[in-house]
Symmetry: C2
Subunit: 360 residues, 2 copies
């Protein structure tokens, strides 16, 4: 087991990464001997009892809640079903909420923990690669709004992130690949050596070699933790973690939540950002093709759905980084170094989208 | 104009109290020249343009949102209508949300500000006595859940509280009296000289003498600010501000949100707490009657609705102060000194409720 720390003063917390951790109840420090585990219909049959049973044997009262599976359920109605369950089961301000699942479960459960009785403790037990390398770390929680992804949410740090790499054994290939999009992101925005490592080790990751996966997770989490510690509430640097997200969220919202996996949309969004960076003269065509090649090797799309450009621009205007009506995009100054910029002319944004859309 | 400060480090903010402040746009410091004012159908016709016009003349883009009036609309549906409006009007992370109205408008708008894009700035412009002396200060925001009042919410401090005492001129008598319940509360829990001052000046308050009202507001806010600074997130002392609230919330939830005004329920709840404090041997009958007399002179109820005791106990179990299944109640050690206690035996809690219920 490897342990990293997200150093946020009195809100600091550990990330444990290793095999078989889900059954190690002693790693979960609870404020009172009561916990509510939130999972979904896909993950619960595989892992809920493996997490809950050792806790019960340790004397913890465990409440279980199982949500429907999918991004389109990351909405108020599902959130409210968590609140109903918490109140019906007499959960209190000291009860710990445990998110067991991927990014959707983590985001919605974290937001429930942020709001229930104005904030209760919570723990992330991520079971997808995407959640393990990105969404479970850093305290961003949210639900979607029909007009924009992750529009309603809170910053609410977990007490602990428990990453059991064994859970990746049951992850569908498509989801593993989607998770790799966020892994590659760290290389692109701030860690060129990691990008090179990924180019070397991609096949080993795709074949789920445990040590390689663990290293990719730890290196990703270390990058994420460094950024979060420097800028917890996204006043600056943290926005760089959103490479491809302004384009990607437009895809997710535009085609309907859940049609595209988040990581798939981020791969295309990152390609659009790379195209725009090329148009700005910051990276060259060789860099662009190198990025494209890596996404392609990971089995990720490098071209978006048939949304027209006006629809993209309309959806992108709801982005949280918009300031004074002006789009701010994460672009690549060079490979391994991202920058937040409002300098891209609209014509070039349109060109970049067009270059990476099905109906270009 | 008098200015108090809520000293919370980098989240410190001023409370301005005075006449005619609502039209003084220069007092509102905005992060970007865009603001969304949220009010309700009762307050908007009286004050919305008086607040918005000077802002517009100062070059601020002002979005207006008008909610239905009443506690029963402090729910998800109304909250979501605020999110819809903010997104449709292209409000951003730097847009300031301004709550113009009473406690319901302030609580729901504050919660919207806490959650929209994971948190945007907001300003309280309270127009009821209750909001001016209590709910606009301290950053507690919330909506109700069918199973419990203020169950879903956040701590999110305003940038500024702007209290225009002139707005009390249009406040219905019943609402003025309800606000006095929270004013009296400060005297009971921590400020005996203020309690004595209220006994002397109650008629002057009821006849809305401006200087007396302003003094009551400032003394209340000073008490509230001291407690909030000492314990922002209610780990201890702040719970004492909830004298009468565990009983009172049970009344509000039990009879249906909006039937009883919050202050009316708090008056009865405070009498129940006083009865229980008498049973505990902490105050004497003379103290109890003194408290009762003050609430009665303020035109407030001192006896609850016809809910049976079991229903009270069931509703009280959802209180946010419950710990390990045990009720914790704010009681009076003596007049002017409250204490949070789980020592009251169930039989005496039942007796105290019975002594102050319509069907005793």
């Amino acid at each position: 087991m490897e342990t990293l720390t997200v150093a946020l003063g009195d809100r600091s917390y550990p990330i444990h990464v290793g095999q078989g951790l889900i059954e190690r109840a002693e790693l979960l420090v609870l404020r009172q001997p009561k916990a509510a585990i939130v999972s979904n219909v896909t993950v619960a049959p595989l892992y809920l009892q493996r997490l809950a049973d050792p806790l019960r044997r340790a004397g913890v009262e465990v409440v279980e809640m199982v949500l429907p599976d999918g991004e389109r359920f990351k909405d108020w109605q599902t959130l409210n079903s968590i609140f109903d369950g918490l109140l019906e089961q007499r959960c209190e301000r000291s009860t710990t909420l445990i998110a067991l699942g991927g990014g959707v479960v983590g985001d919605i459960t974290g937001f429930a923990a942020a709001c229930f009785q104005r904030g209760i403790p919570f723990i992330q037990v991520p079971t997808t690669l995407l959640a393990q390398v990105d969404s479970s770390v850093g305290g961003k929680t949210a639900i979607n709004h029909p007009l924009g992804k992750n529009m309603i949410g809170a910053f609410h740090q977990p007490q602990l992130v428990l990453t059991d790499t064994d859970t990746l054994n049951t992850l569908p290939d498509r989801e593993l690949r989607a998770g790799l999009a966020e892994v590659i992101k760290y290389g692109l925005i701030r860690d060129l050596p990691f990008l090179e490592w990924l180019e070397t080790n991609l096949e080993s990751l795709l074949s789920r070699e445990p040590a390689t996966l663990a290293e990719a997770i730890c290196r990703s989490c270390r990058n994420k933790a460094e950024v979060v510690v420097a800028d917890e509430r996204e006043a600056g640097e943290r926005a760089l973690l959103n490479l491809g997200h302004t384009f990607g969220h437009a895809i997710e919202t535009g085609v309907g939540y859940g049609e595209w996996l988040h990581g798939e949309a981020i791969a295309v969004g990152s390609m659009m950002a790379a195209e725009l960076s090329l148009l700005m003269g910051w990276i060259d065509r060789h860099d662009l093709l190198r990025v494209e090649r890596l996404f392609q090797r990971a089995g990720l799309p490098v071209r978006g759905p048939a949304l027209n450009v006006e629809r993209y621009l309309e959806l992108m205007q709801h982005d949280k980084k918009v300031l004074d009506g002006k789009l701010r995009l994460v672009l690549l100054q060079k490979l391994g170094q991202a920058v937040l910029s409002d300098a891209a002319p609209p014509a070039e944004i349109i060109q970049a989208i067009g270059a990476r859309s099905a109906h270009a």
